[in-house]
Amino acid sequence: MDDTTVADADETTTALTDDLLDDELLVEEISIDGMCGVY
């Protein structure tokens, strides 16, 4: 990761996805019930 300030949304997305690649978790299951705001 470089040290430059993240200036715009595109760079932020790239930064996040770079983090994801490092983290190597490309899929994630969420509970179909796991969202507050529905019955």
């Binding site: 996040l16 983090d19 994801l20 983290d23 978790l25 994630e28 969420i30 509970s31 179909i32 019930d33 796991g34 969202m35 507050c36 705001g37 529905v38 019955y39």
Partner: protein, 383 residues
Amino acid sequence: MSATKSHLVEQLKTGLDAPICLTWELTYACNLECVHCLSSSGRRDPRELTTDEAKAVLDELHDLQVFYINIGGGEPMIRRDFFELLEYSISRGIGVKFSTNGAFIDADKARRLAAMDYLDIQISLDGTDAVTNDAVRGEGSYDTAIRAMNHLRDAGFGEFKISVVVTRHNVDQLDEFKALADSFGAQLRVTRLRPSGRGADSWHDLHPTNAQQRQIYEWLLAHGDNVLTGDSFFHLNALGEEPLPGLNMCGAGRVVCLIDPIGDVYACPFVIHDEFKAGSVRDAGGFAHVWKHSELFAELREPQSAGACASCGSYDACQGGCMAAKFFVGIPLDGPDPECVGGHGEAAMLAASAIDRPRPMMDHSKPVRVATPERVPVTIGRR
């Protein structure tokens, strides 16, 4: 929370192009008058969406690729077109879960439901005995629910859900609820009571005490493996090191929302109030336009201010709690949750003026009939 999970949550908080799922209250009509009803249901609203209007909404949801809908009300099975809408939804590739008090599930209906695919059923129950349950849901409602469950089991429906609103009076029955669900091969769901709808009046008597909140948290950690919560207890995460399973985020207006019986779109079913109304499916552009362009939803999809909670070390865990809970007790949205486990909610509630407290705006409660000594029936509105 893992780094990847917080990334995911941050992305979800900015909102998706379409809901993942949503709640759709089909009618304000209901055969019951539960004291905590979030939608203040009882009487049908004459402005209810027609069958054709409802199908048009389903067509839109199909185009948006909404995966499934949670149907409720009132009592959704009261609608004459209930099965027609169910079948239409499924035919359009939208799965259905519906929430019911069970009054209209007889052996015949149970068989009909069992024959349907991509359908889930949730039976509401608030006590493991008639005394506890009926005090909240009305006389005979416990028997009604159990009878419906028996019919579903006899018809071979498969796994249905039993949905419980946790109150001061049923907190000690959590083990029994689990056993009841197990006995039916059903899945238990426990959810948080909010001061919404008629719940605004009963909340102070019904909501769990601080000690009981800890009881709920610890029970969920110890026994909640197969228990659903609708992610409604994330405000309790501040109680300990171990967070409850779930995304621990408010999805209202971001990944979920409510469509009410007259087609109004709200952030979630617990905030049926003008303050949280995003638009109407009857407006030009329909539901899709509301989801994508509503000012309210745009605001909710912005980063939220921690406000008064910014200096609290627990904010990351509890996210400031539930906006519906705050709103209806008169606490500002960037203030503490009324049930803040750190105790900050109590002071905030005292500061909230009774005059400023929002009143539920859509009240479809049935009028209370009182016979005077002269035996002249007088109709009094519930509020």
